[in-house]
């Protein structure tokens, strides 16, 4: 289906289509479209209940916690929505290995054992060698290390897997090629196909977790949700050893100051998350601190299975007073222990550790454990 046909179907689907889709055990394409359609909006409660049941069955009463650790805000890309965009006059910095260790120790003390290492795309500042040395420094203390950085080729990703990084997060940002070109003005990220291919290169290299996502607000959300679900399915079929994780970041204000051209309401976000749970029953669904506390609390277990907590989005943000510029403003400002407490009171066990270094070959396992 092309974009116009899809948009028409999102408008034309009726309540009977939605009701039939809600009864299906597995969503085919027409059921997916029906549940993302305008007609499904009044069925949000029924959708949420189905999503909750599936989540409970597959993941139990648990939510995995992770923390982003920003390594660098240096970036060669010009992206209209991002606080790290190359042309912005913000204080730039790439943390030294020692500074990263200090930030990581802070997170370790808070209880985190899963880290997401985040950086702008900068072949000079955030090179393979740099990331390898960070992985070597952190792996004795952390069970799972994932990256959300610029793209690399297959050999590059193989090196990072060998260094002990087990997860790759790489958002396509938008699956609408016109919108993609409009917001990615310059730099390697300008190339839509290259970025899409990079996730597969990562899968081939052996990352155990593949994180995908669309930056919500750049294009009509129904189109993005549909594309995300299809992308997740295709990746899952082809690279069946890797777990798929899907994130739902909505555009936040940043130093660039530009706001969403297609704002996504809370209701639409919830609809999207619930549909994704039914379309990809075993995928980790991730919600970051971009979202307000109330929304996050209510979405625990209704699709969402992984959350960040107590996040800082600037290099040095956890341990330094005058750290560098941030990527976006966070909304849920509670500490990790507060979020963990809320999880417990809502009947979920906060899972800090869901992997073990000792699975990995000695070359990338912990030297001290």
């Amino acid at each position: 289906m092309n974009r116009e046909q899809l948009l028409r179907q999102f408008q034309d689907a009726n309540s009977r289509d939605v009701e039939a889709a809600l009864l299906r055990e597995q969503l085919d394409e027409s059921a997916l479209v029906a549940l993302l359609s305008d007609a499904a909006a009044p069925y949000l409660e029924a959708l949420a209940r189905r999503a909750q049941t599936t989540t409970l069955q597959r993941f139990g009463r648990t939510i995995q916690l992770y923390a982003p650790l920003y390594l660098s805000n240096e970036c060669v890309n010009r992206c209209t929505y991002c606080g790290f965009s190359q042309e912005l006059a913000i204080p730039r910095r790439t943390l030294s290995v020692d500074a990263v260790r200090t930030e990581a120790e802070h997170l370790h003390a808070e209880g985190f054992r899963h880290l997401l290492l985040v950086a702008g795309e900068s072949p000079r500042a955030v090179s393979l060698e740099y990331l390898e040395s960070i992985a070597r420094a952190l792996r004795p203390r952390f069970d799972s290390l994932a990256i959300e950085v610029g793209t690399f080729n297959l050999t590059g990703y193989q090196r990072l897997v060998a260094a002990g990084i087990d997860g790759l997060t790489l958002y396509q940002e938008t699956y609408q090629t016109d919108a993609y070109r409009r917001v990615h003005l310059a730099g390697p990220k300008h190339d839509y196909a290259r970025r899409l291919k990079a996730v597969e290169q990562g899968a081939l290299a052996g990352f155990r977790s593949l994180g995908i996502g669309a930056l919500l607000g750049l294009a009509p959300w129904q189109l993005e949700a549909y594309a995300l679900a299809q992308h997740g399915r295709e990746l899952g079929l082809k690279y069946w050893r890797s777990r798929i994780a899907v994130s739902f970041p909505r555009i936040r204000e940043n130093a660039g100051g530009r706001l969403a051209t297609h704002p996504v309401s809370d209701r639409a976000l919830v609809q999207m998350i619930c549909v994704m749970r039914l379309a990809l029953p075993d995928a980790e669904l991730v919600l970051s601190t971009r979202e307000p506390a109330t929304l996050r609390d209510h979405l625990m277990g209704i699709g969402i299975t992984r959350m960040s907590a107590g996040s800082r989005t600037n290099p040095g943000g956890y341990t330094e007073d005058c750290a560098a510029g941030e990527q976006f403003a966070i909304e849920d400002t509670r500490s990790a222990s507060e979020v963990a407490r809320v999880l417990l009171t809502r009947g979920f066990e906060p899972v800090w550790k869901d992997f073990d270094r000792s699975f990995l070959a000695p070359s990338c396992a912990s030297e001290v454990a």
Binding site: L56, Q57, R58, F59, G60, R61, T62, R113, D143, R208, G236, W240, R241, S242, R243, P281, D282, L344, G347, F348, E349, V351, K353, D354, F355, D356, S358, F359, L360, A361, A365, A369
Partner: protein, 261 residues
């Protein structure tokens, strides 16, 4: 009445035929209460979830291991090498050579890889482990694993967490018929009746996790599974009547004809 037959695995007698898992619970405290209510003597714990080096690990410290045998499992391992590595860690840290071998390269349905499971089992048995492998309900794989020295086989009833009951019934029947080691039906048992059915089929024990963990009241559900397993065991001892394809009335309609000469 038939005399009760003990369940013996690697020389240890188990009076309860219900084994339980510790994942998916709302908290370690709820988990520990449910484990206690189940009356189990064997508890499996995912090594990837616990910190075996931390004395205050919340899952491990919630359980009283003077009452249960700890069965560390290798869930998360994608091949034999990974499973063997984590089993070695477990033996060193958990002070037990028992291991539930799980090699599940597919993160969705968590179905076991028979080739890698057999490879890992061979290595682990040679290294002195007591190996309880999680397998698909494949009678030939079960035979091969028994041959290399596994202490049990643990075939699945349905995919992990699916609560669908004995979907693999016909294959399980063959595994049980041919078994030379105890058969523990693992995964997919969603209701107490499913557990009873597995024992009625001849399984030596069942392992239950999700059905208890995600129940509204996990402690009560653990009790329900305990009762079902006990009921099935009692029935086994009582000696159930054979099934028949046709009716056998207690007052036969043709009784007046007398016995044919």
């Amino acid at each position: 009445m038939k005399a009760p037959v003990d369940l013996v695995i690697a020389g240890q007698i188990f009076t309860s035929r219900l084994f339980v898992g510790t994942g998916k619970f709302a908290s370690p405290e709820v988990m520990a209460k449910a484990v206690e209510a189940s009356g189990t003597e064997l508890v499996t714990v995912a090594l990837r979830r616990v910190d075996v080096h931390a004395p205050d690990d919340r899952t491990l410290s919630a359980l009283d291991f003077s009452r249960y045998r700890l069965l560390p499992n290798t869930s998360g391992a994608r091949d034999a090498d990974e499973a063997v590595r984590i089993a070695k860690l477990s033996r060193a840290a958990c002070k037990t050579n028992w291991v539930k071998l799980e090699v599940t390269p597919d993160p969705n349905y968590l179905l076991p890889d028979p080739v890698e499971t057999l490879r890992a089992a061979e290595q682990l048995v040679k290294l002195g482990f007591v190996v309880l492998p999680y397998i698909n309900a494949d009678p030939v794989v079960a035979k091969r694993l028994a041959e290399v020295g596994c202490a049990t086989v643990m075939p699945l009833a349905a995919p992990i967490g699916s609560n669908r009951g004995l979907q693999t019934r016909d294959q399980l029947r063959i595994i049980i018929e041919q078994a030379t080691v105890p058969v523990v039906v693992d995964a997919g048992l969603g209701m107490p009746s499913h557990a009873a059915e597995a024992l009625e089929l001849g399984a030596d024990a069942v392992l239950v996790n999700t059905a208890i963990a995600i129940a509204h009241d996990p402690v009560r559900m653990a009790l329900a599974f305990k009762a079902a397993v006990q009921a099935a065991e009692l029935a086994r001892q009582a000696g159930a009547g054979d099934q028949s394809a046709y009716a056998r009335a207690s007052s036969p309609l043709t009784g007046f004809l007398g016995v044919e000469a």
